[in-house]
């Protein structure tokens, strides 16, 4: 095979055995890679009703056919499993350099089954793979683990690891690769921890074979040229300011989540946005493999109580640990981000869970003694976000409750409505009352609330590729469906959304992945039509939905909290709005070919080859 390596590494932790198996070419064509091959495996091999933290749940790490190639942003891999946070699937995506190393070592995917009797790590040295004892690594944080594993394997190896949060089962533990990059969401790290797999180290020095290298090269040149021209000789905004610059858009549209979504306007926004970060703490922009953007932030807080060094924060973190907690102290937000990275936790759920606790505490629903800070927990307490993040990653004190995420925390105190979640996963940094399409995207995302399974913010807030009014709802179901299907292709090919939505798709609201189709054909030698690739995207999204349906999910779970659908936005440009979710859902299900309960119909599944 070309583009793909044609090899899957099966790891049975219970039996302490590794095995090479061929990648099925038909599955590769129909599901592309990454997210597609991940859900194909889960559908075929994992009981949808299985306890996520049991030996019956598999953990899949999957690259795409464009991962490790010179295609701009061809650096991504997907971590797929059944989520302990939501009970739905995960699609945790990360870049950096580990995914490329895995591909260059000759592997499309790693499938991890069972549970090791004692802690282990997986060492993949090119074509050879072995399990090694990790008893001496258990308890180490992410940077310590990365360094120790490379020291005893190969210093040029790339790693993906869990920290103490994954070991102890924090329900939103992440898997961290290259020290600072996160397959962040839905608790993939807790599954890896349950399996007692501390790390995967890979050394890959091969080359991804391409079917038509000359054609591929000319396509890459064309996409890079288009990218450069789009900035008219000026700076690349995401390189200059990082993703935290997104706060300019969300604040201006009044959708910057503030104090657990009690408002969409944060008075301290200019103290925590991308300009503030660049001016105060940026050391240098960091790029994933083959990326011309370099949105990553190498940062340093030089002194003061929050001194530290690492990467971040991203926009989602300045929302979750910043505005959502009413905190305008960028040093504290950055420090809490570093702790999440070091202990291995998702910054979004961490911040949003603290925000939920802050609101419930202010309303007298959590006794101050439970929190244990020696003071009442209130919005704006910068020190508290740092202390509570550390306690959560170590599962100490009140951190044991926070480690369950906001829904279980709010349920514990009898008021689940204070958790800003869909399917039990915390919202990203966009208030759906002022961004109707995002509300539908949160509700119907297969992983619970996420902005990355079809991101309407581009078209609702930024006019990419055209501007739609974020406050209208009737025109959003088609857009959300089209974007979800396109993102399924991006995630499966091994590409990054940031470059893809501006450079690899048709520049109209359908964002059909034309450029990705061209790259796939040059890489694999197949003759994909644009239509076939679009259908593959729809197939992947429906396969995830099918897994959810079999796990018991339906329309009742495509829901948003009462605050979002019945409490009008109190201020700002979206004042008076609620999210008109139910009206959008009917039309969305019709467009999807699902029944009124949100279950894919037999006809739709047959059309997509899913039955």
């Amino acid at each position: 095979m070309q583009g793909w390596c044609g090899k899957v590494l099966w790891v049975d932790l219970t039996a302490s055995r590794v095995e090479e198996r061929p990648l099925d070419p038909r599955s590769a064509r129909n599901y592309i890679g990454g997210r597609g091959l991940g859900i194909k495996h889960l559908l075929d091999e994992v009981d949808p009703e299985v306890d996520p933290r049991s030996e019956g749940n598999d953990l899949v790490m999957a690259t795409g056919p464009l991962t490790g190639t010179s295609a701009p942003t061809g650096a991504r891999y997907m971590v797929m499993t059944k989520s302990p946070l939501t009970g739905a699937v995960t699609c945790s995506n990360s870049g950096g350099k580990f995914p490329t190393a895995l591909k260059k070592a000759g592997w499309d995917m790693i499938i991890i089954r069972g549970k090791a009797p004692e802690p282990v790590y997986l060492w993949v040295n090119g074509a050879r793979a072995e399990l090694r004892s990790a008893g001496h690594l258990w308890g180490k944080d992410v940077p310590e683990t990365d360094e120790a594993v490379r020291a005893e394997t190969d210093l040029s190896a790339r790693t993906t690891v869990i920290g103490p949060a994954g070991e102890s089962g924090v329900l939103f533990a992440s898997i961290m690769n290259d020290k600072h990059r996160a397959a962040g969401r839905s608790g993939v790290g807790a599954v890896m921890g349950f399996k007692r797999l501390k790390a995967v180290a890979v050394k890959g020095e091969g080359k991804v074979e391409l079917a038509d290298p000359e054609r591929f090269k000319s396509l890459v040149a064309r996409f890079l040229d288009g990218f450069k021209k789009s900035f008219e000789g000026g700076p690349v905004p995401l390189r200059k300011w990082g993703t935290a610059i997104t706060a300019v858009g969300t604040q201006n549209f009044g959708v910057f989540p503030t104090r657990n979504f009690q408002s969409g306007m944060f008075e301290g926004w200019e103290k925590i946005d991308g300009r503030a970060l660049t001016d105060q703490y940026l050391v240098k922009p960091k790029a994933c493999f083959s990326c011309p953007i370099a949105c990553g932030r190498g940062t340093k807080v030089p002194d003061g109580p929050y001194a530290g060094e690492g990467e971040g924060p991203e926009y989602e973190t300045v929302y979750s640990l910043g505005s959502d907690c009413g905190v305008d102290d960028l040093a504290a937000v950055t420090k809490a981000n570093y702790i999440c990275n070091e202990l291995g936790m998702d910054t979004i759920t961490m911040g949003a869970t603290i925000a939920c606790a802050m609101e419930m505490s202010e309303k007298g629903l959590i006794p101050p003694g439970d929190v244990g800070l020696g003071r009442e927990l209130r919005f704006g307490d910068a020190q508290a976000i740092v202390e509570l993040t550390r306690l959560t990653g170590r599962r100490e004190g009140f951190g044991r409750l926070l480690a369950q995420g906001s829904l279980r925390l709010a349920q514990h105190y009898g008021r689940p409505e204070f958790a800003m979640v869909a399917k039990g996963q915390e919202f990203a940094g966009y208030d759906p009352r002022g961004e109707q399409g995002m509300g539908l995207a949160y509700a119907t995302s297969p992983i619970g609330a996420s902005h990355m399974r079809g991101d309407p913010a581009y078209i609702e807030l930024l006019g990419v590729p055209k501007q739609l009014d974020p406050l209208t709802h009737h025109d959003k179901p088609q857009i959300v469906k089209d974007w979800q299907d396109a993102f399924s292709v991006i995630d499966s090919a091994g590409l990054c959304v940031f470059f893809s939505v501006r450079n690899y798709v048709r520049p109209d609201e359908t964002i059909k992945p034309e450029g990705i189709t061209e790259l796939l054909n040059a890489a694999t030698g197949l003759d994909y039509s644009l239509e076939e690739v679009c259908t593959a995207g729809e197939r992947i999204f429906n396969a995830e939905r099918l897994f959810l349906s079999r796990a018991g999910f339906s329309r009742k779970d495509d829901a948003l909290p009462a605050r979002i659908v019945s409490e009008p936005m109190p201020d700002g440009p979206a004042k008076g709005m609620v999210c008109r979710l139910e009206e959008m859902l009917d039309e969305y299900y019709r467009l999807r070919g699902w029944d009124a309960n949100g279950v894919p119909t037999e006809n739709k599944l047959r059309d997509l080859g899913l039955v």
Partner: protein, 77 residues
């Protein structure tokens, strides 16, 4: 009529007196596109246009007291 204009990020360079928030006197019926031309912001430059907090198109006719905000489309999670 008088409109309030707020320029953000790289568009700040287009502010006539270096102030990113300023007022402009314009004839009734002036469109956003005409304001963009006056500020020497090319049609081809990607931009987000907000009038009184709502997304707007370049063809939008402005009224006395309108608040126009312009910034380049930068985002990512």
């Amino acid at each position: 009529m008088r409109i309030e204009i707020r320029l953000q990020l790289s568009f700040k360079d287009k502010a006539p007196h270096g102030e990113n928030l300023f007022h402009l006197e314009a004839a009734p019926g002036t469109t956003v596109a005409e304001v963009l031309k006056a500020l020497a912001i090319p049609d081809s430059t990607p931009k987000v246009i907000i009038v009184n907090g709502r997304a707007a198109q370049p063809s939008r006719e402005l009224m006395d007291g309108d608040r126009l905000t312009l910034f380049p489309p930068v985002a990512g999670g």
